[in-house]
Amino acid sequence: MMLQDIQLMARIAVSIVLEAAPFLLLGSLLSAAVERYVDTERIARRLPKGLLGRMAVGLLGGMILPICECGSVPLARRLLEKGVPPLTAITYMLAAPVINPVVLLSTYVAFSGNFKMTLARALVAACGAALTGWLCRGRLFAEFHADSIRPASLPDLKHQHSHGAQRVSADGCNHRMVLNLLSSGASEFLDMGKYLVLGALASAAFKVFLPWQLVQALAGNASLSIAVLMLLAVLLCVCSEADAFVAASFVYVPPAAQLGFMALGAMVDLKLMGMYFSAFPKKIAWPLIIIPVVCVFVLSNLLSLLMR
């Protein structure tokens, strides 16, 4: 291992953290704000009872609240804790990084006004998110609504938050409210941030030491290119705001492989995998990884037939 490679790896890892950290901080602060100031229980009671309605609310939330994948995880976890139905929260968490107007516009621009590609990306991501939410809803309901999730960590968050809220109301002091909110946000960021750091390091190591010649050779094969680009999406941890431009640069591969790269990367990558295991129990984290992978692979192959 050469010193130059190690330095490059360090620089790539730091660049991933620099890129993702602002969005993770935003998500953490939103999560802390939701915990303290939003009466989500009341909102949750007003949500539609039907599956389609709950899915639609999750997707609509993703469209109107632009947030990167790093920010959506802590926010979705908090929404689940506050009683939002799992189908809505998970659909929102997975879809929001892709189907928001900012990302769709960047996809449209990156593919030089290719509306079909933009629509296909939104459809694949929305289907993957809704399907994952639908398949995970039972387990999530049992975990969150039975109040048994991660007894070692989350109850502590709840404990601190509720006490903080009580202190706030007792003191009635604005600056203390702000201090508590910022400190809660920092705590949330630190909890998720450790997985961001580990994921960034793993991604950087893959990027520097992966035999790219082999990847290029495999990508030349039409039947393998979708799987190869999906693997790259997981390994590279590219932000959903920018991944369309990276995908569009892969001019050697068919559009379906570019689509697979864009649709999966915002739902599953190395840093997100760590965050899922941090935010959810293993029996929920694994489906959050596996279902989108299968769904995106199948849909990208199907769409590749239509896009020929």
């Binding site: 330095q7 602002p22 968050l157 920092a186 580990l198 050697y252």
Partner: protein, 263 residues
């Protein structure tokens, strides 16, 4: 122990904010992120300083050794990453370069011939997306030499430039094959200025054995055309080794994106 770990956590968040603030004002930023994101990084840096300070004043949640170690590792990585491959050791001290500059004269005149400035990534995007290139148009481009067995067999080398969209993680070295006669011995990593004209390849075949460049671990070279060099000159590595081209660059009006080093 718990108080110490929580204090360290707060210090790391505050330190991350300071690091981002310093980096956002430094030339070295371009070795990590596309300079257009400077305002975002600076704004986030202020946020990190605030939440870090709040956490130091009022620690929150449980201490976690793994968490503290992860952020300590991030600090070590940041120190080791330094100022990247920006030339010289003053990357953190120097002021950032002009990020977007339209050069009043995009041409270079050499021996009476006019050559259009274009970086290798821009040429890659222009040619690979099938844009028509006038055969009489001369180009001057600068990049890193990359050789491979496949390229040696066809008597060419690749001229590449690291192209960053958002951050270094998404950077890809892009470029064009070059053929030249009477070349000095070239090694991987040499920086060259090449004056030449584009010739389309009748039978394109992908080059799949390139690997990385040292600046960027993944490379792509245009397989539809190559540059017939009329002159090749060795050069020092430029102060700003990356470019920030988007796929539609090949279609857009002529403009330079990274200041005077961007061709």
């Amino acid at each position: 122990m718990k108080r110490l770990l929580l204090a360290l956590d707060g210090a790391f968040v505050f330190g991350l904010g300071l690091y981002m603030l310093l980096l956002s004002q430094a030339e070295a930023y371009g070795a990590f992120m596309n300079p257009k994101f400077r305002p975002l990084t600076a704004a986030a840096a202020v946020g990190f300083c605030l939440v870090g300070a709040a956490f130091l004043l009022r620690p929150h949640g449980k201490a976690d050794v793994l968490r503290t170690l992860c952020f300590a590792m991030l600090a070590v990585l940041a120190l080791h990453a330094g100022s990247g491959s920006l030339k010289g050791s003053t990357g953190f001290a120097a002021k950032p370069p002009a990020e977007v500059r339209t050069d009043p004269d995009p041409h270079v005149v050499r021996n009476g011939d006019s050559f259009l400035k274009s970086n290798p990534a821009r040429l890659f995007l222009l040619l690979q997306t099938g844009q028509a290139v006038p055969s009489d148009q001369g180009y001057v481009t600068r990049g890193i030499v990359k050789r491979s067995a496949q390229l040696d067999r066809i008597g060419k080398f690749a001229l590449l430039r690291g192209n960053m969209v958002c951050c270094l993680a998404d950077a890809i070295a892009m470029g064009i094959m070059v053929s030249a006669e009477g070349l000095p011995a070239l090694r991987d990593g040499d920086w060259l200025v090449v004056f030449g004209r584009v010739r389309l390849l009748p039978d394109p075949s992908p080059i799949t054995d390139l690997g990385g460049t040292g600046e960027v671990p993944f490379s792509m070279v245009c397989d539809k055309a190559f540059l017939v060099a009329e002159a090749v000159e060795k050069m020092e590595r430029p102060r700003f080794p990356y470019v920030f081209e988007l796929p539609q660059s090949g279609k857009g009006p002529l403009r330079l994106t990274g200041g005077e080093d961007d061709f």
